[in-house]
């Protein structure tokens, strides 16, 4: 298995690397276009700001490379958001694989105890309405670890839903592109199962 993790200016990838190692996969972290294009699978991670990430991807030509990839690609967290059309974070035009808008959680809302909602959405939340081979063997309402202030809206490409204030896309899938908003690499055994589905099944 030749797995490439896209190296760019958003976030650290050490935890993703460790999670893959625990699954017996030695991935290569690279920004080399040829290496990425030749990989069997590509992981597009990310923790950071949408607009500075897009700026960097544009400057390095990685934006055009990513949208042209034919092999399975998994966007994680910001990676998922960048695969969408547009993000309210810095009003950023993103890669447009998914015709979906990324919006900010509304801070003015209150929960049922009249407590203000906390942003970011941080912690373990359950995913439901699961479909696609990425979710194979994952039980409905499994808990995954999330840390984010922006979310992808529900769409026909949603393959897992989570409720925080409103229902949003916890995972999406279209053709060879997959995205998960939660951190597979920090979501205990369930997260490892999803990573392993990406590696072994897809």
């Amino acid at each position: 298995m030749n797995l490439a993790i896209i190296k760019y200016n958003a976030g650290n990838v050490q935890s993703v690397l460790y999670a893959l190692q625990r699954l017996g996969v030695n991935a290569k972290v690279t920004d080399n276009h040829k290496e990425i294009a030749a990989a069997d699978k590509v992981i597009f991670p990310g923790v950071g700001h949408a607009s500075s990430a897009m700026e960097y991807l544009h400057k390095t030509g990685l934006d055009e490379l990513i949208v042209s990839l034919q092999q399975p690609v998994l966007g994680i967290c910001l990676g998922l958001q960048l695969l969408c059309n547009f993000s309210e974070e810095g009003n950023t035009k993103c890669l447009g694989i998914f015709d979906v808008e990324v919006k900010k959680f509304d801070e003015s809302l209150r929960d049922k105890n009249a407590v203000p909602v906390k942003i970011p959405h941080m912690g373990w939340n359950n995913i439901y309405n699961l479909s696609s081979s990425l979710m194979q063997g994952i039980k409905e309402n499994s808990f995954m670890y999330f840390v984010h202030s922006y979310y992808a809206q529900l769409s026909p490409q949603t393959i897992a839903t989570t409720d925080y204030i409103i229902p949003f896309s916890a995972a999406i899938h279209k053709d060879n592109f997959y995205g998960v908003q939660f951190h597979t690499e920090k979501s205990a055994a369930t997260g490892e199962k999803i990573l392993s589905n990406f590696i072994n099944i897809i």
Binding site: Q14, N113, P116, K118, P120, M122, V147
Partner: protein, 252 residues
């Protein structure tokens, strides 16, 4: 629905866990990694490692430890203790820590919060506050592991720090810490209800009901404890089953 989090806290000195931990059937309970793996297998939602040596020469030991923790556990963890600069934080995050907790250094230099938040995002920045209720019924900030009193109210400091970019508050009540009489519900509830970031309640856990109360009465987002877990007085799977029975949403 977002689950309430249960967080064991491990005190680290020279790369080893402090306090004798002898109930657990693992090879080396003094090894933070072994203990972390045990807690993670028991269903801990997150872990906090507080380095109480935190001298410059010991920093390398901590970085090595963070690397081993990240390689071996698959849940998020926070590292704190003596972190005074963006460079310190960067090194720990690069090696796999998910969040950095800052306390006295941030109080003395609030700019640290801003620069960490700008550099890594506010979700990485946990502000730890040690607070004590004085005879005037107000909760004051204490520094240097509770040794130095300030004249600043804990709530005011938390509010300011959130404005600067803190993404989570780890609130320890010194009045309750070590008593096993329960968490400080009044200050925790004030924080949870008035602040826009998650609040981790710490100090005073003695029974499973204390966790239930801090979640349902004080609205805490997470409950942190050390000795009740380390000495096996509360087992995480039993605690979570107990909380679920009281309709408190936890991850099982």
């Amino acid at each position: 629905m977002l689950a309430k989090r249960i967080i064991p806290c491990l005190d680290i000195k020279n790369g080893r866990t402090v306090k004798g931990i002898n109930f657990i059937n693992i090879r080396d309970a003094g090894d933070p990694v072994e203990l972390a793996m045990y807690y993670s297998s028991q269903g801990a939602d997150e872990l906090v490692f507080l380095d109480i040596t935190a001298t410059i020469e010991k920093r390398k030991t901590l970085v090595e430890l963070v690397k081993r923790i990240a390689a071996n556990i698959n849940i998020p963890f926070t590292v704190g203790g003596g972190i005074t600069s963006v460079e310190n934080a960067f090194e720990l995050l690069q090696n796999g820590a998910d969040k950095i907790s800052v306390n006295s250094a941030a109080f003395k230099n609030p700019e640290l919060i801003t620069s960490m938040s700008n550099e890594f995002g506010s979700q990485c920045v946990v502000l730890a506050i040690d607070t004590k209720k004085e005879s005037d019924e107000n909760w004051y900030v204490y520094l240097n592991g509770g040794r130095v009193k300030t004249s600043i109210l804990a709530f005011d400091w938390a509010k300011k720090a959130i404005g600067l970019g803190a993404g989570e508050i780890l609130l320890t009540s010194m009045n309750n810490d070590g008593t096993k009489n329960g968490f400080a519900e009044d200050i925790t509830s004030l924080f949870s209800e008035k602040l826009s970031v998650p609040v981790i309640a710490s100090g005073g856990a003695g029974t499973m009901q204390h966790f239930a109360d801090v979640f349902s009465i004080a609205n805490a987002d997470a409950g942190l404890a050390a000795s009740v877990f380390h000495f096996g007085e509360i087992k995480i799977p039993e605690l979570k089953t107990f909380l679920l029975k009281q309709n408190i949403n936890v991850r099982l």
